[in-house]
């Protein structure tokens, strides 16, 4: 790893880790968009997952894998609990309700004090001051490069699962609900159950991302999980496209990788990015990689698909 670390600067490793973690959140927003829900509250599950994972690894000395799983479980559970009362809301009211929930969670985390003595002073969530010293990586000698590898591994696994999901009846059902839930219900699809399941999956994904984030930065505070984070995730998914799980990744790369990292237009980045997104959505409402394009692409690459053989 040391040669690799010498070649790639620390900045690039940090940026790549940020992009991978942000991709998880964008994928979580993407899952909700698939069933026709705009959620402005995914950052809450990201934050709750980050806190849960941090508490497990710092205060209970849990290994990293267990802490990350705990973060994901916490996100999934909270998301499922939120989905129960909001199941009947229309699109707009759902978006506003998730925004309200996200802010409630952020303020509640700001009021959460639970500390216990550690080796160098007390550790644990300290309200608005944040949660310091999540030092699992330092204590176990994991370099940022190795952690990036782990993060990418998790991301690839998630992507593979999502791609597999989309080929199942379940994935097709999700898209049907997103297009028209009444029609999907008439076809015998259990809309409510699938929406709850999707919410749990999306929350789990966000919580997993949060756990990875908490261990990367070693310090989290409630202010990080403000609505801007969740809304950016939705923006990435919408910009990149709703046709495939690679869409949100493309959105993240365009914003974080191209505009933020290149520092081409300091101070005017948001002016350009915001204008681009709006102009773009005006003509391409389902993003760059929308269903039609994905369909065409898959036909180009799979010329011997079962359909072309049928005479």
């Amino acid at each position: 790893m040391s040669e690799l670390g010498g070649l790639i600067s620390a900045h690039a490793v940090g940026l790549a880790s940020d992009m991978a973690i942000m991709s998880m959140l964008a994928l979580s927003a993407y899952l909700m968009l698939l069933v026709g829900r705009v959620s402005f509250g995914q950052q809450a599950f990201f934050g709750l997952g980050a806190y849960a994972a941090g508490v497990m690894s710092v205060m209970f000395q849990a290994p990293l894998a267990l802490a990350l799983a705990g973060g994901a479980a916490c996100g999934a559970l909270c998301s499922w609990l939120l989905a129960l009362p909001t199941l009947r809301l229309s699109g707009l009211h759902y978006a506003v309700a998730t925004l309200a929930f996200g802010e409630m969670a952020r303020i509640a985390l700001g009021g959460w004090h639970w500390q216990r003595p550690g080796p160098d002073g007390p550790v644990g969530p300290a309200g608005i001051e944040g949660f310091r010293d999540i030092r699992w990586l330092l204590e176990n000698d994991v370099s940022p490069g190795e952690y990036l590898g782990l993060t990418l591994l998790v991301l690839v696994a998630v992507l593979a699962l999502l791609m597999r999901l989309e080929r199942l009846r379940l994935g097709v059902g999700l898209r049907m609900i997103g297009q028209d839930d009444m029609l999907a219900a008439a076809q015998g699809i259990a809309c409510d159950r699938l929406r709850l399941l999707t919410a749990a999956m999306a929350g789990g994904l966000a919580g997993l991302g949060g756990g990875l984030y908490a261990h990367r930065t070693t310090y989290i505070e409630p202010a990080v999980f403000d609505p801007m984070l969740g809304v950016h995730a939705v923006g990435y998914a919408l910009l990149g496209g709703l046709g495939t799980a690679f869409g949100p990744l493309l959105g993240v790369m365009l914003d974080l990788g191209l505009l933020d990292a290149s520092r081409l237009f300091p101070g005017w980045r948001m002016v350009i990015f915001g204008g681009l997104v709006a102009l773009f959505l005006r003509w391409r409402p389902r993003g760059l990689l929308d269903e039609t394009l994905v369909h065409h692409l898959s036909h180009t690459f799979h010329t011997r698909s079962p359909f072309s053989n049928r005479q």
Binding site: P85, L92, A95, I107, D181, G274
Partner: protein, 309 residues
């Protein structure tokens, strides 16, 4: 003890007037277009920044700043409407009470693109005046009026009265005038209004312009009491306006006033009981409860829109 309670309630009611005036334009936009304009707060903020710039750099008099804020809000609103809502105008509206999700997929797009424009406008404003605190023409009164044992600040009372006046004037106009009838008809059933020969697209542009002008009035009224404008103003306008409009039922003009007053009173009491973060929490908790609890199961459709006086 009782006096304290009453004093807090009065303060809350005065705050609520400001929330109502801020929410009025948002509710009108939703009533007319059935779209939530997330760039609403940023529009008011950029207009206010331009006003502050005129005040600071050009030493413009107060009346000119007020005019400029309203005019800028209209121009910026026109830009927002062209970019985010023009494509959605021409479509046939879903019938009243229809589930919006799924049937009306453009709603999602309008939300996302108006959010992107929000970010853009906020950045422009911050680039214009990079400091955190920017002086705004101040009309704040120094003294307080004593109403028996209660203290009332006259300038804030004026804003609350302005809010009530605007709400009732707009409601009256929507109810009584021919144009108001046409607006309500368009909001209710776009297709039927079009078939009856109404210029639907032009009416919606006008409704949007009026809503933006109202946001400019609100921005000037609220900021002239503070005497300064910060980058947090856009978020504040959107959030307080949204809660007030949601509490009253989006699209209902008189509802905004009651929603704003309720929000103000709840916030004031939450602050006195639980401090500043309790105030913030109560705003969101109220919003969440209003959405989730099925208050009026029978007339749930009324929550979904149409423009009502």
């Amino acid at each position: 003890m009782v006096i304290d309670f009453l004093q807090i309630t009065v303060d809350g009611l005065l705050d609520g007037g400001a929330y109502a005036i801020v929410g009025l334009g948002l509710s009108l936009t939703f009533g007319g277009l059935r779209r939530l304009n997330l760039a609403y707060g940023a529009t008011a903020m950029l207009a206010a920044y331009l006003g502050a710039w005129l005040h600071g750099q050009m030493q413009a008099p107060v009346w000119l700043v007020a005019l400029a804020v309203v005019a800028c809000a209209i121009v910026i609103g026109w830009y927002v409407e062209r970019l985010c809502f023009a494509g959605t105008r021409d479509e046939v509206a879903p019938s009243r009470g229809a589930p919006i999700a799924g049937v009306d997929g453009r709603e999602v797009v309008a939300l996302a693109s108006s959010f992107a424009i929000w970010m853009q406008l906020e950045q422009v404003a911050v680039n214009l005046l990079p400091r955190h605190l920017n002086p705004f023409p101040s009309l704040a009164a120094s003294g307080e009026w004593a109403l028996g044992p209660l203290m009332v600040r006259p300038d804030r009372l004026l804003v609350a009265l302005l809010a009530a006046g605007l709400v009732f004037a707009l409601a009256m106009w929507l109810e009584r005038s021919r144009t108001g009838l046409a607006w309500r008809a368009t909001a209710d059933q776009r297709t039927a209004a079009h078939l009856s020969g109404m210029p639907v697209a032009r009416q919606q542009t006008w409704a949007f312009a009026v809503a933006c002008a109202l946001s400019g009035v609100a921005a000037f009224a609220v900021l002239s009491i503070d005497g300064q404008v910060t980058p947090m103003f856009g978020m504040w306008v959107l959030l307080k306006g949204l809660v007030a409009a949601m509490l009253g039922g989006l699209g209902s003009v008189r509802g905004v006033l009651w929603g704003g007053l309720l929000l103000g009173v709840v916030e004031a009491h939450a602050q006195s009981l639980f401090g500043a973060s309790g105030r913030e929490f109560s705003t969101y908790a109220l919003l969440f409860l209003v959405l989730v609890v099925p208050w009026r199961r029978g007339e749930r459709g009324a929550l979904f829109g149409g423009l009502r006086a």
